[in-house]
C-alpha cells in the first residue's frame, strides 16, 4: 500500500453514467485486479475504484456514478489533485491463465479486466473477452478490448451483440481458465456455467480498504477473508455462494 497524490489529467463520460478518469503521478506497485481508495472532499470514507489501466506515470479508472461519492468524482476537474491509496487488494493471479484465458466482465466489472487483458497479451496468451451490459448505450471499451483478443458483447435487452447475459456467450468458448468481475448474480451464474477453474472479483462496502477495520469480511472455504486485503479476487473453488 502506498499513499500518493495524483493529478487528474482527464475525467470524461464514456456513457451517461460511466466516466473515465486518468490520473498522473506515482503509480508504482499497482497490479491488475487491484483497486485504489480515493479521498473525496466532503465525504468521510474513501471510495474504492478498481484499476482499469496503467501507464508509466498514469493510472486509468473507469467508474459509474452510483451515489454521492461518485457524483462528486464526476464533477472533478482536470488539474485537481487527489489523495489516493494505491496497491490495495490481491489482484488477479496471472500464473494460472493457461494458453487460452477467458475474461468475463459485467457493467462496471469490465474495467479491471482491461489491464489484465493487456498483461496476458504481453505474455502471448490467446484471449477471449466477454462483456455484458444491460443495453447498447451502456457499452464501453469494446474497441479497446478488440485489440487484445476476441470480444463478445452481450446485452440484456438484445440491443447490441448477443442477447442475454454473459453466460449466453460462453457456449463455443474453449478456455483454459477464467477471470471475471461483475455483479454477484453474474459471478454466481458464471461460476455455475463453467467447468474450468477461474477467479472472481467481488465488491463489498468497505471501511478502510487496507485490512484494518474488518468491514468487508466474507466467509470462504479457506477461512474468513477481507475483500479489501485477501480479496477482492477469489478462486472459484473457495467461494461459498
Amino acid at each position: 500500500m502506498k499513499q500518493v497524490f495524483l493529478k487528474i489529467t482527464k475525467n470524461e463520460h464514456l456513457t451517461k453514467d460511466v466516466l473515465k478518469m486518468v490520473l498522473k503521478g506515482d503509480v508504482s506497485d499497482i497490479k491488475a485486479g487491484q483497486f485504489v481508495n480515493i479521498k473525496i472532499e466532503g465525504e468521510y470514507l474513501r471510495r474504492p475504484i478498481s484499476v482499469c489501466d496503467l501507464g508509466k506515470n498514469t493510472l486509468t479508472l473507469i467508474y459509474k456514478v452510483v451515489g454521492k461519492g461518485t457524483e462528486i468524482m464526476a464533477n472533478m476537474k482536470k488539474g485537481e489533485v487527489l489523495d489516493v491509496l494505491t496497491g490495495l487488494g490481491n489482484g488477479y493471479d496471472l500464473s494460472c491463465a493457461g494458453e487460452r484465458p477467458l475474461l468475463v466482465g459485467g457493467g462496471v466489472g469490465v474495467p479491471p479486466l482491461y489491464l489484465l487483458a493487456k498483461e496476458l497479451k504481453k505474455q502471448g496468451k490467446d484471449i477471449t473477452v466477454t462483456l455484458g451490459f444491460n443495453t447498447k448505450d451502456e457499452i464501453f471499451y469494446e474497441k479497446e478490448f478488440s485489440k487484445l483478443g476476441k470480444v463478445f458483447v452481450t446485452t440484456v435487452d438484445g440491443s447490441y451483440g448477443i442477447k442475454g447475459f454473459v453466460t449466453n456467450a460462453l457456449e463455443n468458448v474453449d478456455a483454459t481458465y477464467f477471470y471475471s468481475c461483475g455483479p454477484e448474480p453474474m459471478l454466481k451464474a458464471l461460476s455455475n456455467a463453467t467447468k474450468i477453474s477461474g477467479e472472481l472479483s467481488f465488491e463489498e462496502r468497505m471501511g478502510c480498504g487496507f485490512g484494518a477495520c474488518m468491514g468487508c469480511s466474507c466467509k470462504t472455504l479457506t477461512g474468513n477473508k477481507r475483500i479489501c486485503k485477501e480479496g477482492p479476487v477469489m478462486k472459484k473453488e473457495e467461494i461459498i455462494w
Binding site: Q3, R46, C208, C213, G215, C216
Partner: protein
Amino acid sequence: MVDTKVNLLGIELDNPIIPASGTFGYGYEFAEFYDINMLGTFSFKGTTKEPRFGNPTPRIAECTAGMINSVGLQNPGVEKVIAEELPKLKKVFNKKVMANVGGFSIDEYKEVCEKLDKEEQVGWIEVNISCPNVHGGGMSFGTDPKSAFEVTKEVKKVTTKPIIVKLSPNVTDIVSMAKAVEDAGADGVSLINTLLGMRINLKTREPVIKNVMGGFSGPAIFPVAVRMVYQVANAVKIPVIGMGGIATAEDVIEMMMAGATAVEIGAQNLIDPYASKNIIEDLPRVMKKYKITSLKELIKGE
C-alpha cells in the same frame, strides 16, 4: 521543547496517542505503513473467547463526518491471539500493548482477561462492555450500572494488570456507569464507544447495514465525547481515556482539557492510515501554539 509524555496507570507513554480497538487490527499491518513504536501504545482488536466472524455484510455505512460499522467483534479468538497475533506483533512493537476484551458473559470476560493478563506484552486490559454490535449481553453490560459493576469486579479478581473499562455513550447517565465500574475496582475508564446509529438506502428502502443498526463514529460524535469525558473526569478519581471523533492534534488537546489522561484515535485511522502518526507529529506544534509546555499540566489532579 515540549513534553508529550503522559503516565497511564503506572506506565509512561511517549505521547497520549492510542489507536483504538477495531481500527488498528493487531498492529503489525500498520507496521507496514510506519514504525508503530512511535505510538503511546495501541488497543488491539476486541478479542473474545471463541473465534468470531461477526455480523453479516454490508457492515459499513457512510455518514456526514463519520461512519457506521457493525463488524461485531470479528476476531480469531483469544487462544489464536496469544499463539499467533502477539508473536507477530512482538517483531514490530517493543512497547506494552493494550489488550481489548469483548464478551457475552461474565465468565467469558473473566476467562479471556485472565489469559491475556499473563502475557508479558500486555500492559493494560481494556474491557469493552459497550460494543453496540453484539447481542446477548455485550450491550446490556454497557447500559446497566449493576451489570457493569459485576463484570468489572469479577475481572479484577483474576487479573493483575490495570483494568480499563470501555463505556458506551448510549446511556442516560454516563456518570453512574463510570462510578459503578470505579466502585468495582476499575483502574481506569475509556470513553466513548460508538453511538448507535442507522442509515437507510433510498434505492432499496432498506437499512444500509445488514444488521440494521451499528456503531456510529467519526468527527461527528466529538462534541458528545468531549461532554461525556468532561462529566466523567469530574466525577471519578481514576484516569479517563478520551475518545470519539478525534481527528487532529487540536482535538487531542481539547479532549485532554476535558479531563482525559490519554486519548484513543478510532475511525480516523480508517480513512487515513497515517492519522495517528500525523497527529503525534503535529502535537508539538499545537502545544506551542496554545502555550502548553507539558501535556501533564492539562491532566486533572497532576
